[in-house]
Symmetry: C2
Subunit: 281 residues, 2 copies
Amino acid sequence: MEKFRQFMALLLAALLLGTLSIATVLIWVLHWRRGLAWDSGLLEFNWHPVLSTIGFIVINGFALIIYRLPWTWNLSKPLMKNIHAGLNIATFILMIISLVAVFDFHNSKKIPNMYSLHSWIGLAAVIMYALQIGLGLCIFLLPFTPMYIKAFYMSIHVFAGLFIFGMAIVAAETGITEKLIFTLRSGSNVTLPYSQSPPEAIFVNALGILILVFGGYIFWIATRSEWKRPPEQVKDNTSIEEGSTLNKTNISAEISMDSVLESTPRSRQINLEDVGQRATF
Amino acid sequence: MEKFRQFMALLLAALLLGTLSIATVLIWVLHWRRGLAWDSGLLEFNWHPVLSTIGFIVINGFALIIYRLPWTWNLSKPLMKNIHAGLNIATFILMIISLVAVFDFHNSKKIPNMYSLHSWIGLAAVIMYALQIGLGLCIFLLPFTPMYIKAFYMSIHVFAGLFIFGMAIVAAETGITEKLIFTLRSGSNVTLPYSQSPPEAIFVNALGILILVFGGYIFWIATRSEWKRPPEQVKDNTSIEEGSTLNKTNISAEISMDSVLESTPRSRQINLEDVGQRATF
């Protein structure tokens, strides 16, 4: 019960930070950057930080910890996989619109694309995210993928998901940095330049800090073993009995390979059905 | 043996990426930014990216994985703790010099300090690093710290170390972003502005990518359970026998608290002596 309360406190903090991040980016573009529109101009650009924060940071973050929510442990595994996939696909769609907005703005204003470190990291992250979703769908949702491939790929999928989320945070922080420098230039029609810390600069720097701290909470929740979804014992035993000899052999081979350098006795119960969320670090 | 080869391949890749990052930042400041000096001017500023890359990125990164090197598993635990602490203290000293260089440059040029997101994240990371080192020394190196405090603090120490390393990467990427924008302005005496992708811009963006990929290798190596330093069996048994009843009781309480929401049977051997590097995620 104590652990459950700790989990709820962390989850509520993450929800609060995610909501505050979205509110902050919206206040930024609506109050300081003249709002949102699809006009090939600055108002279209504004969709880029808004959709990226909602999608690549907040929804992506919660998609990473969806299996950790204790009240979902009684729900079926396929349902949870579909929710996880759905949240990530929704994020990917938001990111496509987000990228169209910025390329459209650049092209209409004759600003070169893809020259900044922000653009390199951000686009690489979106491409890796597409690969991650595609491979995840093929490997974990197609019914005929052999179990030993799922077992092998799982730790890569979990690590890649967290690493891409980290890249999204780096992209957000570099994006905020370059947008504030470009917008709050001395000489442009702003009352104070970035270096004089006008309210907008402080407000948007704070957005950067909110996103970083939100990321910290997501990483912490995603990497605690005590909040892993428990194996589904009854279904597992059935599926072990039903599993082909080939698959069982491969799974055992994989696990003993993993144990080559493992020093501590490994007696965790291996559940084939549950391989979809067991591996974490 | 296969696992050992995999580990060596990853470690060599990390060494290569770390060396390349340091070489790249040195070539940047020596070839494009006129070199290094302690003159309160731009050449003094140049120490900031150089020392930050060497210290906060590369040495800090290797300090995180020092317990993972299989050929150190036969060395004594206190020796390894001292190497780990030594690398982090060396990094902290480099970061103090790195910060003095940038504050000194700003002050002599009347440029405000601490207005950018880069400065907020970077300084927060260095302050957290100082706290992490101080708490680490008190808790893991002072001989009289109760074992239950070590056990409780370990997972926080491991997570905080990786999170601060992540913050250092974010600081590096935002720092590169703002330095390239400030330096390669159209109108300043550069042949091409940042937006026209001159060789310097591509070269330094590549430094940002090198640092990101280096971080990926460090995170991967640091979070694989199969490369954890094995418990020291003989010493452990001795220390369990020698340990006070109070400490043993507290350790047990801690571990069973951890297991409240843990679904898989937990039969790992608990070694008091080894608590210093067991907890990882």
